[in-house]
Symmetry: C2
Subunit: 138 residues, 2 copies
């Protein structure tokens, strides 16, 4: 296997992890969300302090999914590989249902996913940060 | 020079670039801001679409500094090195003066800086994304 093939395989693994993250969030499944994270990952959500470590990340998603449902789509992905680290820049659109029977909110924005190669060959999230493109609602 | 010394030197270079970015923003100096960026960098500000490339980034900062002044402080920094790529996780506090004579706004949040090693040995920004820890103001 040459270097290009190795990089293509890494990109495929990273895309698989990104797709699993998306499916987990859209299914409101906190256990599935946290399964794509390393143990000492840092989730960096807008309008909320950073969430450190997989236990806190699982709790964060559990509490979030009790309040809201999401339908995210990643509208672009650019992956930069650097050894055992991958940096993915994404753009997203999202429909957010703030509570039962409330009108959904449409959002779009961008984010960075940082991935680390695992001993198994899979890639897991070490950092996830994003923000909205939309003006602040007043 | 052994690997540890090389990594220490890389961290020092990255910290120097971060310090220059901070000084440039606090001085409202768009030219100084853009000087720490690679030509094809992507700035990812909250509540604004991504800004692609150094010319657009310079224009963004010039327009921003006509509207607002900032005093940012980075309150923590964790640097992860991966070959010629550096990922820095920061936390910040900021005082923002929205316009002349208006009351300043206090903010705090976190961000990711992605740096690339340059042929000269310096490190420049390739991506910068951040968001506020504060609840959405209503």
């Amino acid at each position: 296997m040459n270097t290009t093939d190795g990089a293509d395989l890494d990109r495929e693994h990273i895309k698989r992890t990104t797709a699993e993250l998306l499916a987990a969030v859209n299914a409101s499944d906190a256990d599935r969300c946290v399964a794509v994270w390393v143990a000492d990952g840092v989730l960096m959500p807008p309008h909320h302090p950073s969430v450190h470590g997989d236990r806190a990340i699982a709790e964060y998603f559990r509490a979030l999914f009790l309040q809201r449902r999401f339908w995210f789509t990643f509208t672009s992905s650019h992956i930069h590989l650097a050894g055992d680290t991958g940096v993915e820049r994404v753009t997203y659109t999202a429909t957010i249902w703030p509570e039962d029977d409330a009108a959904p909110i449409e959002d779009s924005g961008k984010g960075l996913h940082v991935y680390g190669r695992q001993p198994s060959g899979s890639w897991k999230l070490t950092h996830d940060i994003w923000n909205s493109d939309q003006p602040v609602r007043s």
